[in-house]
């Protein structure tokens, strides 16, 4: 079954145009009197169905790049096509709409609304979409929670959930609007080994269904579950490698001794 799915995605990759196309991207900011060159000319294409890890130390520009990919920030120069839309020509409100329809975010610190149930958290992106009725909103959100295996926790508040569960709610939120790409910024940074594996397992399964995923991580261990690793240093891409045989998170989870309790730390 794994093999079949694998083939399908490979075909998709060959057939489709890049979902993200970045050319000569430059970002400078002014911090006090100093001009910081965060990105110094990035070229990158990401195909539909790809699973990319962006790696690098802090200060390498990977977070700036991620913010630009996520339309939270605009580059100083360069070109960025997201799903054939030229992002640089858009207004603030159009960028917000683009984030709402085409992008799903997953953050290191989960960023769920406190004292708000898991289901309501997942509904959040759909609330900003006028075309979606309350009925659809609920149906889609329940489905998204099911796909991360948390439908039984719909009415729990974030403080009643473990870190891994909170991150899974965040993932459900990122995919509820059926985005063209999920952007995950250090999604396992706050999690232990086992829950990190669980999160990577969910990402791999979503990717198998054809969802394009980009994660930012500094852990080579985590990056080895993806299909492609892109390394940043000083605002430039220094290395981009295809992983021929990504590790399989589910298999590794099954091999892990179960007696390691899912302690909620």
């Amino acid at each position: 079954m794994d093999h079949q799915n694998h083939q399908v995605t490979e075909e998709d990759v060959e057939m489709s145009k890049p979902i993200i196309s970045v050319k000569n991207l430059v970002k400078n900011y002014v911090m006090g009197d100093v001009e910081v060159h965060a990105l110094r000319g990035i070229d990158l294409d990401i195909q539909q169905g790809d699973f990319v890890a962006i790696m690098g130390k802090s200060g390498s520009g990977k977070s700036t790049f991620m913010n630009i990919l996520g339309c939270l920030d605009v580059p100083t120069r360069g070109h960025y096509l997201l799903d054939n839309v030229d992002v640089l020509t858009l207004t603030k409100d159009q960028l917000a709409n683009l984030r709402n329809r085409k992008i799903g975010f997953v953050f290191q610190s989960f960023n769920l609304l406190s004292r708000t149930t898991a289901l309501e958290n997942v509904e959040l992106p759909l609330m900003y979409n006028k075309k979606i009725s309350s009925k659809e909103m609920q149906d889609l959100s329940i489905k998204a929670l099911e796909s991360v295996g948390l439908s039984s926790r719909s009415y729990h508040f974030p403080n009643q959930l473990s870190g891994g569960e909170q991150q899974r709610v965040a993932i459900a939120r990122s995919l509820v609007n059926q985005p063209v790409v999920i952007l995950a910024d250090e999604p396992t940074g706050n999690l232990d080994t086992r829950t990190s594996l669980e999160v990577m397992d969910i990402f791999q399964r979503l990717n198998e269904q054809g969802i394009t995923i980009v994660i930012v991580t500094h852990e080579a261990d985590i990056a080895s579950f993806t299909k492609r690793n892109v390394s940043f240093r000083d605002g430039k891409i220094i290395r981009a490698i295809e992983i021929d045989h990504p590790r399989n998170a589910r298999e590794e989870l099954m091999q892990m001794p179960v007696n390691v309790d899912e302690e909620e730390l």
Partner: protein, 406 residues
């Protein structure tokens, strides 16, 4: 974002901080309640003054002669002796908007019955007087024009006079009392009217036929004043104008000359008396509005704290696609909800407080639709006004910085 979703989001976040929401609301509740209660007190006293004024009679006009002057020395108003019964006749014949008309003379008399005596005002009038002043007779009847022609020694007395000369609950009908040593037969007793707007006891008087008082008691030929009533409230100014024209012609005064009499209408008196209470209402409402304003500042304060505290939430909302004006609307609606719900509760509380004041202090209160509408609109305007700045601050946050905010 749909309005329904905005409302849901606003209600959810208000529910997260129930205590804070309630305390912020309390400022508006107290503000609106005090505006409602203060206006109710002001309006209530205005109404009671109006009710007292209406005891003067219906659509009353009072006609006084001007001050007389002898060799440049002017005497008090109404001291002129130029007004006569001929004036009464001419008005009666020529003024179509006048319903009832009576001349009036007034003197004071020492009343004696048995071993009791009492001093009070004695009015000499036509029977029309009772219609003009809405005076009802509870026992006996009014004297007639025949009594006037014959200057009959009959009189109608008020309840206070009865109490002082005959004792409470006595029925002195048909008895004779002496007024300045002249015996008068009591033919009627008037209904109790109470105090008028100026605190005068309206039951403390004797009413006798005009010519009886004029000739037998005062021994004068002129009349002191006239009392008339217009056919309807709307006709009061017309009646006033007609009387002015007729009397000026009668007194041989040209149209450009000043009249030698003054006419005061019930409307004038009512306006004078109610303007005082209107000023009081405005004063009370202004003071109460200040507390509403303070409540508004409370909303602004809490909303600013809320925006800072929820910076991260705003960042999250923006990252999933909230536009600036979605965030603005959300915070504005929160402020509006606080002020609207506070306004509604304030109206209820204001009603309760007004009723308590009415019951405990027996002060007349009157809650008007206008005061309810006004304070409701005012409180929502306050929500808008004081919610705007914090909401705009939230809408202008940079999503990246907001997401990083600890």
């Amino acid at each position: 974002m749909r309005i329904k979703n905005l409302l849901i989001a606003a209600i959810r976040s208000l529910r997260k901080n129930k205590m804070r929401t309630f305390l912020t609301m309390l400022g508006i509740i107290i503000g609106v309640a005090s505006v409602i209660a203060m206006i109710a007190i002001g309006q209530g006293s205005k109404k009671s003054i109006q009710a007292q004024i209406s005891t003067l009679g219906t659509n009353v006009l009072m006609i006084f002669p001007q001050a007389s002057s002898t060799g440049g020395v002017r005497m008090e108003a109404g001291s002129s002796q130029k007004m006569t019964l001929e004036d009464v006749a001419v008005i009666k014949n020529r003024c179509s908007s006048v319903a009832y008309l009576t001349p009036q003379v007034r003197t004071s008399g020492q009343l004696v019955y048995g071993n009791l005596n009492w001093r009070t005002s004695v009015y000499g009038v036509y029977p029309d007087y009772f219609d003009i002043r809405n005076l009802k007779i509870v026992s006996g009847s009014v004297f007639t024009m025949n009594d006037d022609r014959s200057a009959a020694k009959v009189c109608v007395i008020g309840q206070t006079v009865v109490n002082n000369l005959f004792g409470e609950n006595a029925d002195p009908l048909g008895n004779y009392i002496r007024i300045n040593k002249i015996p008068f037969k009591i033919v009627g007793i008037t209904e109790t009217k109470g105090q008028n707007a100026f605190g005068q006891d309206q039951d403390d008087m004797v009413i006798a036929p005009f010519s009886t008082v004029q000739k037998r008691m005062l021994a004068i030929t002129y009349i002191q004043s006239m009392l008339a009533s217009a056919k309807s409230e709307a006709l009061i100014p017309i009646a006033s104008q007609e009387i002015t024209e007729v009397l000026k012609a009668k007194h041989h005064l040209g149209p450009s000359e000043d009249p030698d009499f003054t006419i005061r209408t019930q409307t004038d008196i009512a306006q004078m008396a109610t303007s005082t209470s209107a000023i009081m209402t405005i004063l009370l409402a202004t003071i109460a509005s200040i507390s509403l304003l303070v409540g508004g500042i409370g909303i602004m304060n809490i909303m600013l704290v809320s925006v800072t505290e929820r910076t991260r939430e705003i960042g999250i909302r923006m990252s999933v696609g909230a536009r600036g004006h979605d965030v603005l609307l959300q915070f504005l609606i929160e402020a509006l909800l606080i002020s609207l719900i506070g306004g509604l509760l304030g109206i209820v509380l204001g009603g309760i407080v007004s009723q308590l004041i009415a019951k405990l202090l027996s002060w007349p209160v009157s809650i008007t639709i206008q005061s309810i509408l006004m304070s409701f609109l005012f409180s929502s305007a306050i929500g808008m006004f004081f919610g705007w700045y914090p909401a705009r601050k939230a809408a202008r946050l940079n999503p990246i910085e907001a997401l990083r905010y600890e």
